[in-house]
C-alpha cells in the first residue's frame, strides 16, 4: 500500500477544522504535546511502516522546500 495523497474526506474542511479546534485554547507547548500524541495514534492506526515513511518524507520535503525558499528570499 502506498501513501494516499488523494483527498480522502468527503468534507475536508471538517477534518481540518477538527484538528484546528483541538488546538484552541492551548499554548504552543500544549499544542506540541497534543500533536505528538496525535501523530503516534495515527501512525499506529496506519500500521504500515512504508506508508509512515512516505508520509514522513512528504512532510520533511515540505520543510526543506520552505527553508530553501526562505534562503532564496534572503539572498534576493
Amino acid at each position: 500500500m502506498a501513501l494516499s495523497t488523494r483527498s480522502n474526506f468527503a468534507k475536508p474542511d471538517d477534518a481540518f477544522r477538527a484538528i484546528v479546534e483541538a488546538h484552541r485554547g492551548l499554548n504552543d507547548e500544549q499544542s506540541a504535546d497534543l500533536d505528538a500524541a496525535l501523530v503516534l495514534i495515527l501512525a499506529n492506526h496506519i500500521g504500515d511502516l512504508d506508508v509512515l515513511k512516505e508520509a514522513i518524507a512528504l512532510a520533511a520535503r515540505r520543510m526543506l522546500d520552505t527553508s530553501q525558499r526562505q534562503q532564496q528570499q534572503q539572498q534576493q
Binding site: 506540541a32 504535546d33 505528538a36 500524541a37 503516534l40 495514534i41
Partner: protein
C-alpha cells in the same frame, strides 16, 4: 564470594625457556580470560583443540558487572558442561515490569510458555560465571591457562602470528596459527592491529550500585520512568544471588562522577528508592557508554570477539550474551578450519553473522538508550506522549522502551540453504534451535537441547521420523523423534511440542549446525539435498 576461587597464581611455563630462534608454536591462542575467552577455550578444547589462554591479571575482576545471562547463553554453557551450575546459583527470572511515576504501565514475560530446559534469563554476578568457567577449564588439560601473561606485541604473518608476552619473569614470544582477542572493550590487541573502533558516544551518565539487603521484592526486572524517588530520570532494580540487588540510576548529564560516586551521596538516593536504609554497598560504579563495533572482526590471523569487537549500552543484556554468542559461533568454525575439514573461508561467515548481530544489538540498545535519555525537546515530547498513551492503549505500552532484552539473532548467511518447501512455522535457516520437551529411550523426560548435546559436537540432523531410515552422510549426528510413543533408538515427543515448534510432520528434518543454529530444513530430505546443504553449511561453496 566464599567458596569461590578468584585469585590464581602465575606459573612459569616451559615456553618461556625457549630461545628466540625456537619459539613455541601453538594452534590457537585466546587472549583474555573473561566469560567470552573462557567459554571459547572450553568449547575448542571439547572439540579436541589445544588452546593457550592468556590473561594479564591473576584474579577474577571485582564487582558484579554483567549480571543477566540469557537462555541462549545457558544453552551454550550446557554444552560446555556448566549450565546447571550457573542456573543453580543464579536467580531465575522471566518477568519484567515497567513503571511510570508510581504506577505500573505494563509487564512482559520473556518466556511465556512451558517446555524449555532453561529460563529466559538468570541473574548471576559475572565473577561467579567466570569462577565456574575457570573451574571447568581446570578439568580440561587441553586448555593451558596462563595468568599474568600480558600481550605487548603482535607480529602478523601470512599463516601465523607471533605474540610478545610480558610476565613477572620477563617477556617471551610464541607463535600461533590463530589468535582470538577476547580482551574486552579496551582491547590492546585491537590497537595492535590498528583497527578503528568508532561509534556513538552517549553523554548520559548512569550509576550502578549493587546493594546487599534482605527484601521481599519478586525476582522480576523493574524499570521506572520518572519514579517518585528519582524525579525526571529512570531507574532499574534487579535481584542477584546472595541478597544482592542491582540498582541502576540515570544521572544528570552534567553530574560530576567523582561526587556522585561517593557512598554518602549514593546512599540517600537509594534510601529514597527502597524506603529504608538498611542496606550495604557491594559495588558502586558510574558509567557512560558507547555503541560501536570494529569494521572487520577478522584481521588476518587475529579474530576479535566480545567487547573487543563490539560494545553496546547495558540496557538489554546484550554485552556478555552477544560475546558468548560470538564464542559459540567461532569455536566450531575455527576447529573445522584447523582440522582441514572446512576451508579457511568458513571463518568469514563468523564476521558476516556476528557483525550483523552486533549491528542489531547496537540498533536495539541505542533505541532503548535514546528512549531513556531523549536527545531533544521533541524527542522528550514524543516519549511523554508514548508514556501517557501507554496508560490506556496497547500500542502505547508496546512502544515504551525500557530495554529490549537480548534474543539470538537470525543469521542471513551464506551457510544457510534457503527453504525449498513450504513452512508455516518453526525456526527458519539461520535461526537458533528452539527447545522442546522430549522423552528418552526409557521414557525419561529430557529436552531437545539435551538430545542435541548427545548427538555429538558436529552437524546433526533432527529428524521427525516417518519410519523410514534414510541413509545419512558420514559423521552427521542424529536426533530421531518418534511420535507420542517414541521409537527405537530415538526420542518420543509426548506433548507434541517438538513437532509443533518445528512445524514438523513425519518425514521432516532440520540440519543443525554445531552451534545449534538451523542450516537447512526439508519436508522430505533426499540424500543429495542433505549433502549439498551440509557442504554449504561447512563453507564448501
Amino acid at each position: 564470594m566464599a567458596l569461590t576461587k578468584t585469585q590464581f597464581g602465575y606459573r612459569r611455563h616451559p615456553d618461556q625457556d625457549r630461545g628466540a630462534a625456537n619459539i613455541a608454536e601453538h594452534a590457537i591462542v585466546v587472549v583474555g580470560a573473561g566469560p567470552v575467552g573462557l567459554s571459547l577455550a572450553i568449547d575448542l578444547a571439547q572439540r579436541g583443540q589445544s588452546v593457550v589462554l592468556l590473561d594479564d591479571a591473576d584474579r577474577i575482576g571485582e564487582g558484579s558487572r554483567a549480571i543477566c545471562f540469557s537462555k541462549r547463553s545457558l544453552e551454550f554453557w550446557d554444552r560446555l558442561g556448566i549450565g546447571q551450575r550457573m542456573v543453580d546459583k543464579g536467580v531465575v527470572w522471566s518477568v519484567g515490569k515497567i513503571f511510570h511515576g508510581d504506577s505500573l504501565l505494563y509487564q512482559f514475560n520473556l518466556l511465556p510458555e512451558e517446555g524449555h530446559k532453561r529460563p529466559a534469563f538468570i541473574n548471576l554476578q559475572q565473577f561467579y560465571a567466570e569462577a565456574y568457567l575457570v573451574d571447568r577449564v581446570e578439568e580440561l588439560p587441553a586448555v593451558d591457562l596462563r595468568w599474568r601473561n600480558k600481550v605487548t606485541g603482535l607480529e602478523p604473518h601470512n599463516d601465523h602470528v607471533v605474540l610478545t608476552i610480558q610476565t613477572p619473569d620477563g617477556p617471551y614470544r610464541l607463535a600461533a596459527q590463530y589468535v582470538v582477542a577476547c580482551d574486552g572493550a579496551r582491547s590492546s590487541l585491537r590497537q595492535m592491529v590498528g583497527a578503528e573502533f568508532t561509534g556513538q558516544v552517549f553523554e548520559d551518565q548512569f550509576l550502578i550500585a549493587d546493594v546487599k539487603m534482605t527484601a521481599a521484592f519478586p525476582t522480576e526486572r523493574w524499570f521506572w520512568f520518572d519514579p517518585p524517588f528519582h524525579a525526571g530520570r529512570s531507574a532499574l532494580l534487579h535481584k542477584q544471588p546472595d541478597d544482592i540487588w542491582r540498582i541502576d540510576l540515570q544521572l544528570n548529564r552534567l553530574a560530576d562522577p567523582a561526587v556522585e560516586k561517593l557512598p554518602e551521596n549514593v546512599r540517600p538516593r537509594i534510601a529514597r528508592m527502597l524506603g529504608h536504609d538498611k542496606f550495604d554497598f557491594e559495588w558502586i560504579s558510574l558509567y557512560k557508554f558507547q555503541c560501536r563495533r570494529m569494521n572487520k572482526f577478522i584481521h588476518g590471523r587475529v579474530i576479535f570477539a566480545g567487547d573487543a569487537a563490539h560494545q553496546v549500552s547495558p540496557f538489554g543484556a546484550r554485552g556478555a550474551n552477544s560475546g558468548l554468542e560470538d564464542a559459540e559461533n567461532l569455536a566450531w568454525k575455527l576447529d573445522r578450519v584447523l582440522r582441514g575439514t572446512s576451508p579457511q573461508a568458513l571463518l568469514e561467515s563468523y564476521h558476516i553473522e556476528r557483525s550483523a548481530a552486533a549491528d542489531e544489538n547496537i540498533r536495539e540498545s541505542t533505541r532503548s538508550t535514546d528512549f531513556m535519555a531523549p536527545n531533544s525537546h521533541q524527542e522528550a515530547r514524543l516519549r511523554k506522549a508514548v508514556l501517557s498513551l501507554a496508560r490506556e492503549t496497547e500500542f502505547g505500552k508496546r512502544m515504551v522502551n525500557g530495554g529490549r532484552l537480548s534474543t539470538p539473532s537470525v543469521y542471513d548467511t551464506p551457510l544457510s540453504t534457503a527453504d525449498a518447501d513450504s513452512w508455516h512455522g518453526g525456526p527458519r535457516p539461520g535461526a537458533s534451535m528452539p527447545d522442546a520437551p522430549v522423552a528418552g529411550a526409557r521414557g525419561e523426560p529430557m529436552y531437545l537441547t539435551d538430545a542435541f548435546i548427545g548427538a555429538g559436537t558436529s552437524f546433526a540432523l533432527l529428524e521427525f521420523s516417518n519410519g523410514a531410515a534414510p541413509e545419512l552422510p558420514d559423521g552427521l549426528g542424529t536426533i530421531r523423534i518418534g511420535g507420542k510413543g517414541g521409537l527405537e533408538g530415538g526420542f518420543a515427543d509426548p506433548t507434541g511440542l517438538a513437532a509443533r515448534r518445528y512445524d514438523a510432520e513425519p518425514g521432516a528434518a532440520y540440519l543443525l549446525r554445531p552451534d545449534g543454529y538451523v542450516a537447512a530444513r526439508f519436508r522430505h530430505p533426499t540424500r543429495a539435498a542433505l549433502d549439498a546443504a551440509l557442504a554449504r553449511a561447512a563453507g564448501h561453496n
